[in-house]
């Protein structure tokens, strides 16, 4: 009895319990392979992971690296009927130094706004572009459309292109994926 109470009073016992709990939580909640059994076992640990924002996803360039070169172009209609185009930041058109500072814009635009999984962010993107357009002195925007422009990198065994190759913008595929009316309170 005294041995048990001594163990419970030892801080190392509790630290050890925490370490085991923490490792189990991370492993069960965040390991790539998802199975129904694991989901059940992981359930009690999820609140801990969520509460402390310990979520993690290490699928960097995986399971497949991206095979698409793309950018997003916004078509802005102004109150006076004129139309102008604005590209969301394109790393490929920036200097090395600019790219270093602006990489997060690529993450936002190409990894998130571009995909259908992030439809929810399209309205705020349109509003952001409208404000940029107004600030650039174009007038009052009344409508913003977002266009994807892209080209696929083909399988190297079928078509091996050298590094540094480029395709002009006008030869890229394009698709209008969102149109939104802009109200005054959006600006």
């Amino acid at each position: 009895m005294s041995k048990i109470s001594k163990t419970l009073r030892d801080s190392r016992f509790w630290i050890g319990c925490f370490c085991v709990f923490h490792c189990l939580a991370i492993f069960l909640c965040e390991f790539p392979r998802i199975s129904p059994v694991r989901e059940v076992v992981a359930a009690p640990f999820r609140s801990y992971v969520r509460f402390f924002n310990l979520g993690q996803n290490w699928s960097m360039f995986a399971p497949e690296p991206s095979s698409i070169n793309a950018f997003i172009r916004a078509e802005v209609k102004f109150r006076d009927g004129s139309v102008r185009f604005f590209d969301l930041p394109r790393m490929s058109q920036m200097s090395l130094v600019e790219r270093f500072f602006k990489e997060r814009y690529r993450k936002w635009a190409l990894d998130n706004v571009r995909t259908d999984d992030h439809k929810a962010v399209w309205p705020s993107t349109a509003r952001y572009v409208a404000r940029l357009a107004r600030d650039s002195g174009g007038g009052i925007p009344v409508e913003v459309s977002l266009w994807r422009h892209w080209t696929l990198i083909k399988d190297p065994l079928k078509e091996f292109v050298p590094t540094g190759y480029r395709i002009p913008d006008e030869k890229l595929e394009k698709f209008k994926f969102h149109t939104q009316a802009i109200r005054e309170e959006d600006l």
Binding site: R12, I15, G16, C19, H22, C23, F27, E30, F31, P32, R33, R50, F51, F52, N53, L54, G55, Q56, N57, W58, S59, M60, F61, A62, P63, E64, P65, S66, S67, N69, R90, M91, S92, L96, R99, F100, F101, E103, R104, Y105, R106, K107, W108, D111, N112, H118, V121, S124, T125, R127, Y128, R131, I153, D155, P156, L157, F160, P162, T163, Y165
Partner: protein
């Protein structure tokens, strides 16, 4: 059980984890400074996204208590920067790590759409540093303790359980990424670096020949996988530890040279320092300290030099 006890609690030198603290702090400071110019775009009401985080209460989200406004994001970022500087100098080290963790985590909640894996790494490392003994060497905490006669001349050995958690986390990271990649066709067939080297937005410096020949593309693809697998597993075998870490450094330097992923590779190389055994970490830290000794200001009082 005995092994686990030894692994977590056998007292070890703290200089290695202190060196890791310094490296991670430098990364945190750069990371915060990179966010400053674009703060209104990323964390403002009129930015690229409106608040994207969950609305309920989260333990590490200050936006559970404060409205997601540019004003609040701004002071949270500046508080984060201050905590990173404080962590760098080892001033109230654990508190600084916790403040850094909560502020960074809050910003991550605000706008997760601009985050890359480097951000996740920094957040997780702050969480773990909050438990660690990273302030017991090369720190102002130690300097003041020495001044008060509470710390010995040479830093005491301490239980490394927090460092072990960091090591396990890093292993998990590499093992997971390797696992994800093995599920993909391009990695299995050795073609992944063909695609990554043709992504226009990631281009940095050219690497002649390598990415223009299929055999070299396969070598770099499979080589990356092998190194990542080793960093997740073989690194735990003592004789392989240093070679695996060196291979990891080479891998990250290679990616840093060829691809534009700001800070990420430097963050990952910082992680590899903490993968050394605590005694190896101390040897590295003392070696660096000796190299830097020539830079130490001569005007510094002797007592200051001695206490650090």
């Amino acid at each position: 059980m005995n092994f686990l006890h030894k692994f977590l609690f056998r007292k070890e030198p703290v200089e290695g984890i202190a060196l890791f603290r310094i490296l991670i702090s430098i990364m945190l400071i750069f990371n915060a400074l990179l966010l400053v110019p674009d703060l209104p775009d990323f964390f403002g009401e009129k930015g690229v996204v409106e608040y994207w985080g969950p609305s309920g209460f989260q333990g590490s989200n200050l936006f559970s208590f404060f409205k997601p406004t540019l004003f609040n994001s701004t002071w949270i970022l500046w508080l984060h920067l201050c905590s990173a500087i404080s962590l760098l100098f080892g001033f109230f080290t654990r508190s600084s790590a916790w403040i850094g963790f909560i502020t960074l985590s809050s910003l991550h909640y605000y706008n997760p759409l601009i985050l890359n894996s480097g951000d996740t790494v920094l957040r997780l490392m702050l969480f773990h540093l909050g438990f660690s003994q990273a302030g017991k060497a090369f720190s102002l905490d130690r300097y003041f303790s020495r001044g008060a006669g509470l710390a010995p001349r040479v830093p005491r050995l301490e239980m490394p359980w927090a460092q072990r958690l960091i090591q396990l986390q890093i292993s998990f990271l590499y093992f997971s990424t390797c696992f994800y990649k093995l599920e993909g066709r391009a990695w299995a067939y050795g073609e992944a670096t063909y695609y990554t080297s043709r992504l226009w937005d990631f281009e940095r410096f050219p690497l002649p020949y390598v990415f223009d020949h299929l055999w070299a593309i396969r070598a770099t693809t499979w080589g990356s996988l092998i190194i990542e697998f080793a960093l997740g597993t073989l690194i735990w075998f003592k004789p392989l530890r240093v070679p695996v870490i060196l291979a990891g450094v080479l891998l990250h330097l290679g990616i840093e040279y060829t691809m534009n992923i700001p800070l990420f590779e430097w963050i990952m190389m910082s992680l590899l320092v903490v993968m050394l055994e605590p005694r190896q970490g101390r040897a590295l830290a003392l070696w660096i300290q000796a190299r830097l000794a020539v830079l130490r200001p001569e005007g510094l009082p002797f007592s200051v030099k001695r206490k650090l």
